[in-house]
């Protein structure tokens, strides 16, 4: 198929969205089906055909999507109704819209390197004690929790329950260290 001249080509726009919660990296194909379902269920087949939604890549906790120029607003509205991908609960936060992928990749690099002033960034995924006999180090309220993701002040933890474990969204101030001692050194 021959490539059309620039004046006859369909104009596209690229949308950069952050995936919440942090640490989740869905399969691009599964994410595309979720996005497509969100668009079709809200606006219908006609609008979805005109919008031409597409997922290009998932990288560094962000996703680059594509739509037709002029449909960015409706596309963003449809993305805000997306609540999960397969069995994973997630949300897409639209960060930027651009005409080129390159500028969005620069924005991703900028986000990855930006540090919130006043916080002590700890962008490290700590290994959880799940499945081991090691006791949890932290507690939220009266329950021990396992840290999944620690990103600055935001902490995602796993609450251990009798039936199943659920993900909790906390901050560093919410956590208490189990077995913390105030006995000073030298005693």
């Amino acid at each position: 198929m021959s490539i059309r001249p620039p004046t006859l080509r369909e104009k596209k726009r690229y949308v950069l969205a952050r995936i919440d919660p942090a640490g989740i990296s869905p399969d691009p194909k599964d994410l595309y089906y979720a996005v497509y379902e969100a668009v079709v269920s809200l606006f219908g087949d006609m609008a979805a055909a005109a919008m031409q939604p597409s997922v290009l890549s998932v990288e560094k906790g962000c996703v680059i999507l594509r739509c037709r120029r002029g449909a960015e607003r409706e596309f963003a509205i449809a993305l805000s109704t997306l609540s999960g991908c397969r069995d994973t609960l997630l949300t897409l936060r639209v960060l930027a819209v651009s005409g080129t992928i390159e500028s969005l990749r620069e924005r991703i690099a900028e986000i990855a390197s930006r540090k919130d002033p006043g916080d002590s960034p700890k962008d490290v995924v700590l290994p959880s004690a799940e499945g081991t006999s090691e006791p949890s180090l932290y507690r939220f309220g009266s329950e021990p929790v396992d840290i999944i993701v620690w990103d600055g002040r935001k902490v995602d933890a796993l609450e251990k329950g009798f039936k199943n474990a659920r993900r909790l969204f906390l901050t560093t101030e919410d956590l208490e260290i189990i077995h913390a001692t105030t006995i000073p050194d030298g005693l």
Binding site: A76, T81, S83, F140, R153, L170, T171, E173, D174
Partner: protein, 213 residues
């Protein structure tokens, strides 16, 4: 102008702590939240307003509860019922918000109840969760109710509030996203801004139209 999410459910009902809600809300553009069963506080520059929702109580119980909570600084909301109940509650002093119009009957909130709500400065809540998480009939019904609500709002000018009804930070939506969702049922930018400031509007005690001196 205040930008308020009129209802969130922090831990233990939800899975996010109040602090995390405040942190996320700040990044999404909000400066206050109404949190169910929370204490008043200011966290990360976000005002946390305690909220209570009355569900399945009689109109008499609503009135007694409204008297008890007067002056506490929180938001008292009532889940809508039938038409007679809604009229009675909308006229009760101390009730700030009526919720649940998306799932209420078609005749639950009519022009008489709208007039009473406007006179009493009682807000109607626009819950975005059926539009975000609902599909098919559930979402269609919610959009239809909100379209009808906007017709009454333009006529009688009662306050509106916008809430995400989020039990998790994943359920929060940015101010821009909320405005986009509200545009689906005919709210423009001015309407959305007024609705986001609706909580601060209902918390101010309205003055009577006529004052005898």
């Amino acid at each position: 102008m205040k930008i308020t999410d009129a209802c969130v459910f922090p831990y233990p009902v939800g899975d996010s702590s109040v602090r995390r809600f405040a942190l996320e809300a700040r990044s999404l553009g909000y400066d206050s939240l109404v949190a169910a069963d929370a204490t008043a506080a200011t966290i990360c520059g976000v005002n946390i307003i305690p909220g209570v929702i009355l569900v399945g109580v009689s109109a008499k119980d609503v009135q007694s509860r409204a008297k008890k909570s007067r002056g506490t600084g929180g938001i008292l909301s009532v889940q809508m019922g039938d038409n007679g109940f809604n009229r009675a509650v909308a006229g009760t002093s101390g009730i700030h918000i009526l919720r649940g119009i998306a799932t209420a009957d078609k005749q639950a909130f009519d022009h008489v109840a709208a007039k009473i709500a406007a006179d009493n400065n009682t807000a109607l809540d626009i819950d975005l969760s059926p539009i975000i998480f609902g599909r098919g009939h559930l979402r269609q019904k919610a959009i239809h109710r909100y379209l009808d609500l906007m017709v009454l709002h333009r006529r009688f000018e009662f306050p509106l509030t916008i809430s995400s009804f989020a039990g998790s930070v994943l359920g929060l939506r940015a101010v821009r996203d909320a405005a986009g969702l509200c545009s689906l049922f005919g709210m423009d930018e001015i309407d959305v801004q007024a609705a986001l400031a609706g909580v601060s509007r209902v918390m101010v005690k309205g003055e009577a139209a006529v004052r005898v001196i």
